[in-house]
Each structure stands twice: as C-alpha cells, then as structure tokens.
C-alpha cells in the first residue's frame, strides 16, 4: 500500500497511488512546467482526440463512482447532460467541481486542491469535454485559502499556455474555468444548494426533478462532481479503463483517498486500492491510540453509521460498506477506542448538522437541534428515559430518505440510528449520572 509518495520523476504513476503519487511531501503545488515534465496534460490531449462519447464510455468502463459521498457512477451522471444544440435557449453548460468539503472527518479534497491543482484542471477539462460543458466553476470552501490560491494560479498558467480558453490544443474545444470561494455552511456542498449559492441565494436545496443536468446553474445544463472524482479522471484517460479497474480490489474502480482520524496514533491521508479494509488503514496509522483497543469506527465520515471490530475486514467501498450496515460516504474513517464514547461523538455530529442545516424544512430545523440537546443531556446526565424514546422516534421517523427535503437529515440520522442499535446499553447507562466512560465507570 502506498501513501503520499514523493514525485516519481518522469515515470507514469506507480499504479498504487496515481492520485497523490506526484504530490510533493511539502504540498507545494507544481508549476505548469513541472507538471508537464511529470506527464501532465497528456491525458487532456488524448481526450480531445476522442469524441465526448468515447471519453464518457471509457469512464463508464473504468467503473468510476463519485467520491463526494453518494457513490453514483460518474459516467452515468455525465450521460444525463444534453448534446449541444438540443437544449432550448442560449447559454453555456456548466461543470461544477465541488470542493466545499466540510464534513467532520473529511480532509481529502484539501490536499488535492492545495498540492495538485493542475490535476484538478486536467480532470475538469476532460469532464467538461465529455459533458459538453463550456464553463467550469471550482467551488472551494473559504477555509481552504491555500487551495483557492493554488487553483487560481494554476488556472492562470493553463490559460496562458493555451490549455484553457479558446480552441484548446487546436481541438476546437473551448473552456472557461474559474474559482468561486464558498462562504461557510455545510449545506452548500449539496448539489442543488450549491447551485443556489452560486446564483447568489441562500443555499437551500432545490426539488428534483428537474435534475441539474436539465435545469442547473442559471437554468442551464449542469454537472456537479467532487474534487476527488474529477482528479481521478486524467488517470483513466492516461492508462485506460482496465488499468483503472485493476487498481481496485472490488468492482468499484480505482484507488481511494482514505482519511483516517480520531483515535489512531498517526492520523493521515492514505491513497489505497478501493476495497482496502479498516484493519489495514488503522495499521497503517500506527494502530489504535487511547487504550489501544478498538470500540468502533465510522467508515465514511460524520454521516456514516458505526461499525465494530467484527467489521474490520469489510472491503471499504460503497457497496460493501452499505451491506455491512453503514455508508462509505467520503471514505474518511473516524476511529474510537474503548475510552472514547460514541454518544459524545454522535452528540458533536448532531450539533454540527443542526448548525449547518439550511433550516428550510421542519424535520431538519426542529428535529436536529432537539436530538442534539438530548445527546448533550445524556452526556451531562440530565436526560430522562423518555428522551431515549424521542431519539429513537427521531431516527425512525425522520431518518429515512424522503422524509425531509434533502439528504442532510437522513445523513445526520445515520450515526444516531446505529448508536441506538449497536450501543443501546451504553446509551442507557448515560441516564445514571452522565457519560460512564468519562466518569471511569466503564
């Protein structure tokens, strides 16, 4: 397993860490000349010699699933975009690269934006070509100032070299790319809320259908892809769909940039084959910290349900993680040892979701703060038995998809539902004086 390795010269990516293998250890982004010396923009040239349909077919064959959380096949999403001339009215089609990463446990896009901006541009150019988009907006959260600066510099370099703008590499394909910093709030990362934000509105999700591919930014066809998804695209074009699939241990192609945090000795980002297990990732991080004994982990960021030591050998991809009763999400593990309390973790997640909701629909606006207050009360020892019923009711009634306007509420209920299902006795033990782990009772 290869993590963040130093640049490997002119050789193609070593196959195990194509996404991050060329990053410098100090995260200083490459200049255009340096990137080209590493083989950069070769994939763009290759893509532009193909038809857009061939590009999309290749990405489909590579089994690239979106890395933003939902795991939807990237090519499938791209195919929703209309052919040029088939949409009424005039105007551009858009590709939005979503770098509004803000979920607790997720810190992977930060590296890709800060250290590998030309890789993002390459991927976005190819994706734009495949989706008939003429404008790319890279949305980056305000806290990632390094990423914003790196992307802006790299875009200017690419424009000056004719790799963006009119008639790229003499192909006839033209593309405008710009960076848009976001101004805070987790809900901005939701696909349609993000479009509202870009239109200068509150980031309140839109009803679907129509889907963004039909009616997106300013009413025009729009695709939204995560930074990591986009960053993988050049490697598929460069080395082929079969090569990309072979990187993975499962049916879902490629490598994954796993982020491991919480109670491990060396929290870090690890690029590893899709389907790598939590056991391997935790080992790579020097093992469990705290008392060294694993209690549970969340395999996919704050919204994913808890898994336990018996799940350590589940291949971590979207399908296997769902079958194990959780969610792969952003592929970022949060690890808890026996001295860490899953009630406390869930309480913090719930406060986060309550604070970052757009507040537009009732289950989220009212339900999340309610659940957060009860979890806080449990930690402090002021909760009552009937509070547990309310928590259970909230998870059961508001959690399932379709009960709230967007998926934020359902996501927030993921850890709560699994907390109640897997750690019911521990939760109930909090009724008697607060967190028993903090009080040294367990």
């Amino acid at each position: 397993m290869t993590g963040l390795t130093p640049p490997n010269g002119l050789a193609p990516p070593n196959g195990l860490a194509p996404l991050t293998g060329r990053a410098r250890p100090d995260r200083v982004p490459h200049t255009l000349a340096e990137w080209q010396a590493l083989g950069g923009y070769g994939a763009v040239a290759r893509a532009l010699r193909m038809t857009p349909r061939e590009v999309v077919d290749m990405v489909a064959e590579a089994h690239l699933n979106g890395r933003g959380g939902a795991g939807f096949p990237a090519a499938h999403k791209w195919r929703f975009m209309p052919e040029p001339g088939t949409t009424p009215g005039d105007g551009p089609s858009y590709l939005i690269v979503n770098g509004d990463e803000m979920e607790p446990g997720a810190f992977k896009d930060r590296l890709l934006l800060e250290a590998l901006p030309h890789q993002v541009i390459e991927g976005a150019t190819i994706a734009a070509y495949g989706t008939h988009a003429s404008e790319v907006i890279v949305l980056i959260r305000d806290a990632y100032r390094g990423g914003i600066a790196a992307m802006q510099r790299a875009i200017a370099e690419a424009e000056a070299a004719g790799l963006l703008g009119q008639n790229i590499l003499g192909s006839g394909f033209s593309l405008r790319m710009r960076v848009h910093p976001s101004a805070g709030r987790y809900i901005v990362g939701e696909e349609t809320a993000l479009i509202e934000a870009l239109e200068g509105k509150r980031a309140v999700p839109r009803k679907r259908p129509p889907f963004p591919a039909q009616v997106g930014l300013w009413g025009r066809p729009t695709t939204v892809n995560n930074v990591e998804t986009i960053s993988l695209v050049p490697h598929i074009l460069e080395h082929g769909a079969q090569w990309f699939r072979a990187l993975s241990r499962t049916e879902e192609g490629g490598t994954k940039l796993y982020g491991v945090s919480g109670r491990v000795n060396r929290p870090q980002l690890i690029e590893a084959p899709m389907g790598t297990t939590a056991r391997e990732l935790i080992d790579r991080c020097g093992g469990v910290s705290g008392n060294g004994v694993l209690r549970c982990f969340q395999p996919g960021g704050g919204a994913s349900g808890f898994l336990e030591p018996g799940d350590l050998d589940v291949p971590l991809d979207f399908g296997h993680t769902a079958r194990a009763g959780s969610m792969f999400g952003t592929g970022t593990l949060i690890v808890l040892d026996q001295t860490a309390c899953p009630v406390g973790v869930t309480a913090r997640h719930m406060r986060f979701y309550a604070r970052e909701s757009c507040g537009w629909c009732t289950p989220c606006r009212d339900g999340l703060p309610w659940a957060a207050r009860i979890l806080d009360a449990l930690e402090e020892g002021t909760a009552t038995r009937s509070d547990l019923d309310v928590l259970a009711m909230t998870a059961a009634e508001a959690g399932p998809r379709g009960r709230s306007f967007c998926d934020l509420m359902g996501g927030a209920m993921g850890p709560l539902a699994s907390l109640l299902a897997r750690f019911g006795d521990l939760v109930a033990a909090h009724l008697d004086g607060g967190c028993p782990i903090r009080r040294g009772m367990l």
Partner: protein, 157 residues
Amino acid sequence: MTLPADLATRIRAAVDHDGSPQAAMLEALRLIQHAEGWVSDERLAEAAEVLGVGVAELENLATFYSLIFRRPVGETVILLCDGAPCWLNGGDAVRDALFARLGIGFGQTTADGRYTVINMACVGGCDRAPAAVVGRDRRLVGPLSPDGLAALLEGGL
C-alpha cells in the same frame, strides 16, 4: 456614499467576472470583509447600491453564510474546530485553555480587540486534530495543546 472607491471598483469587476450582480453578491460581501474585517449595515447598503440589488436581498445572503461576519471581529479570528475528530483528540481541553487565556467564549472578542473565537466544524485538518484555522489567510494550525496555545498566541497568529 462612503464606500471606498477601490472597493466599489472591485465589486463592479466581480460583476463582470461572475457574470451578473446576483452572482457577485457574495464576492462583494467578501471584498468588504477582507478590507474591513466585517460587514457593517452601512457597507452592506452601499454594496447593494453598487450592485443594483435590494438591501434585503444582500442582507438575506449575508446572514446565511457563517463566514460573513455581521458584527465587528478582532484583529485575528480563531475558527476553532469543535467537530468529533478534534474532540476525540483533546479538543475540549484546548477550548477551555483558550477561553481561560483570552477571557472570552465562542462568538466573543477580547477587550483589546485582538482576538475573536468562533466555533466551527470541520476545518479540514482532522489529521492535525485538535485544529483551528486562524487569521485572514485562514492558516491551519494543529495539533493544538493547552500548553502549546500560549506559545502560539504569544508568537502572534
């Protein structure tokens, strides 16, 4: 109108860059905040006039996003992460030490106007938990410790 001329010019440039006054509203707020640290009622109204949008329309936006400050903030804003990965690595102790040292809580500014502390999750530094982003360039700092805080604050954030 007292909006500095260069700010008005940059807001107009943002309209050209972003394609419409609506699309440039957030950038206008950001430009004001970058210049003055926060967005006052007066500046907000002036920016609305430059953009040709309603004051309420701009206000509606300004009050939604957590990183647009509608009250004065200190010279250095500390966005301290209160997310679960930071908590698991000692975030509460860091928070308590910071509050004790500065004599303020979340959302407050020190009497000398040097620091404002705001809670936020996640700052994208889970590998450096407990972490914070500090200052106008939003520099990531971590892993923080109660003992290390003193040195960090004295070193000037």
